[in-house]
């Protein structure tokens, strides 16, 4: 969790504004804008399969972003992110179905409600040191899932709940191609929001707490307030992502949102780089694409001797879990700053090419 370390010699800033800028050079800003514009054309070129993969990456990246505020910037862990994700999904569908609040408003509202529920679980633990929050969120995960399986009025109990498609000004968006833009807009807004948050006083307070909470407290930072705030934010983004997921899938069941999914969210930010906002996106893409590529690989190996020896195709779910677990451990041991760090190194290498160090 070290900040940018590979700034080449001669690259210096003379004002605070220049130091906290999002894009250090004009080129990087132009590249970012060009990337977004290119993404706007994605639905026209992408196949159905790649479109659904990229929508998934977008949605999970928002939830992972929330988790990264908590883990990467405040130094606390939550393993209840999947529970809050699901809560956001059910809440958005519920308020949309019951109170006829348009989906457009239901999604942010679901985020707020999820954040409030999150605070109920997080408040007792936020007063204490890191590991208590892990345990509290573990309990939250189980309690929330148990609640969803009981509350038929809210989540349909054992029957999956249904959600309405996204609509705006009476126009209903249908299909992945149109929904892609909704997700893209949300990803952009959320990522800009968080990037800017980290440049403000509050963001710096969170980082100070992570780096040395005692010094932070001595400097007048209210630990309880900021820990609670960051946990609330984590739950908020999980709720937003869940709501987006609900109106994308149109059917929500709690299948596959157990503790393993929470660990998957954790894997996303560890792989991407804790404390790196762009890294979150990379990590999410990695985690979403990993099972897909494993599926592809095992499909290609079907019938070969390796497949027969290990029974790959029958056990692909277990292999996927093993791979995720091993990658978490390997990244923590060998590359604790994640893909974001690698990416910076590659960039620096090319910046100085051919006279690298």
């Amino acid at each position: 969790m070290v900040a940018r370390s590979t700034i080449p010699a001669g690259d210096f800033r003379t004002s605070y504004a220049a130091d906290t800028t999002i894009f250090p050079t004009k080129t990087s800003r132009n590249f970012a804008i060009a990337g977004v514009i290119l993404l706007c054309f994605a639905p026209l070129v992408f196949s159905e399969y790649w479109l659904s993969v990229s929508i998934q990456i977008g949605i999970f990246a928002i939830a992972a972003l929330g988790l990264n505020i908590l883990v990467g910037f405040t130094g606390q862990i939550s393993i209840g992110q999947a529970g809050f994700f699901l809560l956001g999904a059910f809440t958005s569908a519920y308020i949309n179905n019951t109170y006829a609040i348009p989906v457009f408003f239901a999604i942010p509202l679901a985020g707020v409600i999820t954040a409030l529920v999150g605070l109920v679980f997080g408040l007792p633990a936020a007063r204490l040191k890191g590991l208590y929050l892990v345990i509290a969120t573990l309990a939250a995960q189980y309690i929330l899932l148990d609640f969803f399986s009981r509350a038929e009025w809210f989540s349909g109990g054992s029957v999956p709940a249904s959600a309405n498609p996204f609509s705006i000004f009476g126009y209903t968006l249908r299909g992945d191609r149109q929904y892609f833009y909704v997700v893209l807009a949300y990803v952009l807004v959320c990522y800009l929001l968080v990037t800017n948050l980290m440049r403000t006083r509050d963001g710096r307070a969170l980082i100070a707490i992570r780096d040395h909470y005692l010094s932070a407290e001595i400097m007048g930072i209210n630990l309880t307030k900021y820990r609670t705030l960051s946990f609330g934010l984590a739950a908020f983004f999980a709720g937003i992502a869940g709501a987006l997921y609900a109106h994308y899938q149109l059917v929500i069941s709690q299948e596959g949102f157990g503790i393993e999914r929470s660990i998957l969210f954790l894997a996303m930010i560890i792989i991407g780089g804790t404390g790196s906002i762009m890294g979150t996106l990379m990590g999410t893409a990695f985690v979403v694409l990993l099972p897909e590529s494993m599926e592809w690989l095992s499909h290609n190996l079907k019938g070969s001797s390796i497949d027969k020896a290990l029974a790959l195709n029958n056990n692909i779910t277990f292999l996927r879990e093993i791979a995720i677990g091993l990658i978490i451990i390997a990244f923590l041991m060998f590359e604790p700053d994640g893909l974001a760090h690698r990416w910076r190194q590659i960039k620096t290498y090319w910046k100085l090419y051919p006279f690298s160090h």
Partner: protein, 297 residues
């Protein structure tokens, strides 16, 4: 009131509770000695159970040979995990270490499912008679055995920490690593030993549960139930963990009784410990016997 049902459940709670206590004890042991919150405790228990099952069914080893073999294996396994995975993490932020154990639990869980399948397997019967008569109550032999083994483990642990030289070294390390090191204690060895003992003790609990209920991947739920127990007792108190485990076990079964007699919500006993966990964190976050964290600057 259905008294005999209640008594049956209370006995059940006591038996399960002491097992929780044993697992919580081994969890606290690792936490105390190495400051690692071990999310893979349940998987250690599961590995022990599967290894013993494998020895007994596949290799047809008698129980009295298979059990010690399992324990030896788990002892070595605990050391291996510590040396290979956890030792390089010393000095890293505490949350990284916690996440490593979360990763470990994922790997173990999935690997065991891969190797042994997802279906529960019955354990070969260990005792000749199925039930014994105790104070007019019919109690299954395995329950008596479970209780006896748990209590024996606890007493053994108490003796180890109070009287043995290694236990003393471990307590010293838990108290202050640097001072312990300056007095000639090998902190590295103590860490490895903590994991080894913890894995072995968990494996005993695992085998006991397996004898009672059969082996399945669901056994690792014991690793999750450890958290309410350990938090209730205080995260760094071995005695508290035992007591916390027993309370959680009893509470589960009382919840089961209340549920089946009055509320009819279903599955209340599975979730009740987590409500208790949240409550304790609100009222008494350092548990019954945990030391309150006071930091000196």
């Amino acid at each position: 009131m259905n008294t005999s049902f209640l008594i049956q459940l209370l006995v059940n709670g006591l038996v399960v509770g002491t097992l929780y206590g044993v697992v919580a004890m081994s969890f606290v042991l690792i936490y105390k000695a190495t400051q690692v919150v071990n999310f893979a405790q349940g998987e250690l228990l599961l590995i022990g159970a599967w290894v013993c099952w494998l020895l007994l069914t596949k290799y047809q080893v008698p129980f009295w040979v298979g059990m010690p073999l399992t324990l030896v294996f788990m002892f070595a396994f605990g050391i291996a995990v510590q040396v290979v995975i956890l030792r390089p993490m010393i000095g890293e932020p505490i949350i990284s270490v916690i996440m490593v154990t979360i990763g470990l639990s994922t790997v173990f869980q999935a690997a065991l499912k891969w190797m042994f399948g997802v279906n529960p397997q019955p354990f070969p019967p260990v005792f000749a008679s199925k039930a014994v008569d105790l104070f007019g109550l019919q109690i299954q032999t395995v329950y008596v055995m479970s209780l006896a083994v748990s209590v024996a483990m606890m007493l053994g642990m108490a003796w180890f920490f109070k009287a043995s030289k290694y236990g003393l070294a471990m307590r010293a390390t838990a108290f202050n690593q640097q001072v312990a090191q300056s007095l000639g204690i090998s902190v590295k060895n103590v860490f490895a030993m903590a994991w080894a003992i913890s894995a072995t003790v968990s494996a005993v609990a695992g085998v006991v549960v397996a004898v009672v209920n059969g082996v399945s991947s669901g056994l690792s739920a014991y690793g999750i139930k450890v958290f309410p127990a350990a938090i209730l007792g205080g995260l760094d108190s071995v005695g508290g963990a035992v007591l916390g485990g027993i309370i959680i076990g009893l509470l589960e079964n009382i919840a089961q009784y209340v549920d089946s007699q009055y509320l009819h919500w279903g599955n209340l006993y599975e979730i009740a410990p987590f409500y208790v966990l949240i409550l304790i964190l609100m009222i008494k976050p350092y548990g019954l016997f945990g030391t309150k964290d006071i930091e000196r600057i």
